[in-house]
């Protein structure tokens, strides 16, 4: 075995998986996981832990794995994370834990994400449950949103003894884990639902179909329903459009709509009664993880699929693994290209899109080189669907209905990074509602910090 390289992980063949919604990555088995675990050097000063937003004791759990002690490894992870099966699948490890791994200097870093996934999946199969408290402390906390920030905050608070209720706007718990990330990347019944069951087994209650800001207000929860503190983890929800001609044509969707139909409503399956457009040729505009998810969904629903992105491959904000998987599956990348106009036929359906070629100029505020149009380089792509994946902005529902809760110019709730404290007493916030669209693990980190902040606040009260 080459100690400089990761033990390769088994995946569904690209040709086969392009036609189904089953999970792409099959994960390690016992032999593979234990062989990979041997590559960990158990550093005295583990840089991987610093790279993890929730500071999992990574060498600690890998040491347990070396001893074939999956339950022990699960308990080590459980001290820091409530959602290991999810993080092992969707964290950008290459820029976090694995990005810092000493092994990565001369060879490939330890495959920490795949090991975490192995521990979580195996522990679940063995029926291991996270450790809850025997008796609650009688203090009630409300958590708004059941996405990664809310679940983490609720799980941590429950472990400290608080009585936690999560309020979820949709009919199913999980937030972006359920409506946003597709089945082939994060299985819903087998993984997400089980992780949520684990959080519930800690004593957390979840009330679905409750839009805070509409079905109840924060003041209402605190004054009339007895919640002493509130955590807002409502995510970033409002999709952006480009404002180009033709965007109202039939066949133009936000990635949020397309993915929500397929993921939350399961429109990809014949059992579901929610419709989804099965395009012949789809153009996805954008280069983030959501764009990759939308593109790979359209592909699986039968479309020839193109990504249109205005910068070059180097600037693609999506995880490298996602771009790699998308390419393997046959998605065509039109880089340094930007849409100008969408064309509709006489019945109002999309028939094509005019794009213009771009080149990179001077660096902009984000530090990336700014894309500039090349005059006269317009060209036409025939297509019957256009999916806009340009990012999202926070939903104003909560900030506009809560007196004394400060939001910034972009509509994000203002909260201090260390404890999640907002401008309103007893109200904490974290995740995309504060930062704008980011990652699952950063939201979890914020949920964790806020749980600590809430505990300190209520203990001092």
């Amino acid at each position: 075995m080459d100690m400089m390289k990761k033990v390769p992980v088994r995946e569904q063949d690209p040709k086969v998986r392009a036609t189904n919604f089953d999970e792409v990555c099959l994960g390690y088995n016992k032999e593979e996981a234990e062989a990979e675990a041997q590559r960990c050097l158990n550093c005295k000063n583990p840089r991987c832990v610093q790279g993890c937003p929730v500071n999992i004791d990574i060498p600690g759990f890998i040491t347990k794995l070396k001893e074939s002690d999956v339950k022990g490894a699960y308990d080590v992870i459980g001290r820091s994370s409530s959602l290991p099966a999810i993080c092992g699948r969707v964290c950008p490890q290459e820029t976090q834990c694995e990005g810092k791994c000493v092994r990565g200097i001369k060879g490939e870093p330890v495959s920490i994400g795949k090991l975490e996934r192995y521990v979580a999946d195996t522990a679940r199969a063995m029926g291991v449950k996270p450790q809850g408290v025997e008796k609650t402390n009688g203090h009630k906390v409300a958590v708004i949103g059941s996405g990664p920030a809310g679940l983490t905050c609720a799980g941590d608070l429950a472990k400290m003894g608080y009585e936690v209720t999560i309020f979820e706007a949709l009919h199913k718990a999980g937030g972006v884990l359920v409506y946003g990330i597709p089945e082939f990347r994060l299985p819903k019944d087998a993984v997400v639902e089980k992780e949520i069951e684990n959080v519930k087994s800690l004593g957390v209650k979840i009330e679905t179909d409750c839009v805070v800001g509409k079905s109840a207000t924060i003041d209402d929860l605190m004054k009339n329903e007895g919640y002493e503190a509130v955590f807002i983890g409502s995510g970033a929800g409002l999709p952006k459009f480009m404002g180009i001609p033709g965007e109202q044509a039939m066949g133009v969707f936000s990635a949020n709509e397309y993915l929500t139909r397929s993921n939350l409503m399961k429109a990809f399956s014949d059992q579901s009664r929610t419709p989804i457009m099965r395009a012949k040729k789809a153009v996805i505009v954008g280069g983030g993880n959501v764009a990759m998810d939308a593109a790979r969904t359209a592909l699986r629903l039968g479309a020839e699929t193109h990504i249109v992105y205005r910068r070059s491959e180097e600037e693609l904000p999506a995880r490298r693994e996602e771009v790699h998987h998308a390419k393997e599956e046959g998605i065509i990348f039109n880089l340094l290209t930007n849409p100008v106009e969408i064309h509709a036929d006489e019945n109002g359906w999309v028939k094509g899109i005019t794009c213009i070629r771009m080149e990179l100029g001077e660096p902009d505020a984000s530090g990336r080189r700014r894309p500039v149009e090349i005059p006269g380089s317009e060209f036409y792509i025939e297509c019957d669907a256009v999916i806009m994946s340009l990012g999202t902005s926070p939903n104003p529902l909560i900030s506009s209905t809560t007196a004394g809760l400060e939001a910034n110019r972009r509509g994000c709730i203002v909260a201090d990074e260390e404890k999640g404290q907002t401008s309103k007493e007893g109200v904490f916030a974290g995740g995309d509602a504060v930062t704008g669209a980011a990652t699952v693990i950063l939201a979890m980190g914020a949920g964790k910090a806020a749980a600590k902040g809430i505990d300190e606040y209520l203990s001092a009260k």
Binding site: Y179, K214, S215, Q248, M250, S254, E257, R273, T274
Partner: protein, 292 residues
């Protein structure tokens, strides 16, 4: 939760239900809507709230069978429950935010078409309770499908019209509005709720008459909280989301042609699902929807 406590068949294919939904009932105001899901495989269906009782924790919905899921809803009985019901969503009518003095001086004419009658009732009842008197034109194709006539006449000066002249004024709601106008009635505001085509023609007329007009838009939706953008429409040249910016808009600013076109997006699929639910395996084509 979401148990049905009352069910009435108002007209062929039109049903009224009272449903236990205390959180919605507590905060609902006229003009807002809710989303209902009949069972675990069901679609999320937006419906305008028709009445609410915050003390009993009940909300009232009225719906017409147009697709597979509305057909399934119609087969539920008192004692059965919906899988989900969430709301109140959208902004309440701006009438609810006006000073009462101003409201009492206003001359308002509501125009209700088809199942749009039920959400109009919600507004009329609220205004009546505030002591505000208003006119209402209620239109239907024919006499048999006029709904809630008694209730509507209790809370407004009701003018009924039918396309075929079988009851009330002979003609559609525009004919009726023009008739009132010609008789010397004047209005500061028209509020039209009904099929998009009706709202479009009402707006064309009120533009000529120079009367401010509010319409309640009911485009295709998924989540109803601003997340998906499926319900977007052009109002005054700007993209608006019906679920969070509406559902009520200035009718003279709405691009109806585009909004009506967007409604067709899943039209055939809805028809297919309806027949699949209703006829099951016995359906053998000829409906114009299924492709057989």
């Amino acid at each position: 939760m979401f148990k049905i406590t009352k069910k009435e068949n108002l007209a062929p294919n039109i049903y009224l239900m009272d449903v236990e939904a205390p959180r919605i009932a507590k905060y609902a105001l006229p003009g807002q809507f809710l989303i209902v899901r009949v069972d675990e495989e069901g679609e999320r269906i937006p419906l305008t709230i028709c009445d609410y009782d915050s003390e009993k924790g009940l909300v009232q919905i009225v719906f017409q069978v147009i697709g597979g899921d509305t057909y399934r809803m119609s087969s539920l009985e008192v004692g059965d429950s919906f899988a989900d019901m969430v709301g109140p969503l959208g902004k309440p009518s701006d009438l609810t935010e006006m000073p009462l003095e101003e409201l009492k001086k206003m001359k308002i004419c509501f125009i209700a078409g088809g199942v749009g009658t039920a959400p109009v009732y919600c507004q009329l009842k609220w205004l009546k309770n505030q002591g505000v008197e208003v006119d209402c034109i209620q239109g239907a194709r024919t006499k048999d499908i006029i709904i809630l006539e008694k209730e509507m006449s209790e809370v407004s000066n009701l003018h009924i019209c039918t396309d075929d002249g079988s009851y009330g004024i002979h003609g559609n709601v525009c004919v009726a509005l023009q008739k009132l106008w010609d008789e010397g009635k004047r209005f500061d505001r028209v509020i039209a709720i009904g099929p998009m085509i009706m709202m479009k023609f009402v707006c064309q007329l009120t533009k000529q008459l120079g009367v401010e007009t509010i319409v309640s838009m009911n485009p295709i939706m998924v989540d109803g909280t601003g997340m998906c953008g499926a319900c977007r429409l052009m109002v005054g040249g700007k993209v608006k989301f019906a679920c969070v910016d509406g559902p009520e808009f200035d009718g003279h600013q709405v691009d109806f042609a585009q909004a009506m076109q967007r409604m067709k997006l899943y039209a055939t699929e809805e028809g297919r699902l309806y027949l699949r639910a209703k006829e099951g395996d016995t359906h053998h084509g000829g409906c114009g929807n299924c492709g057989n």
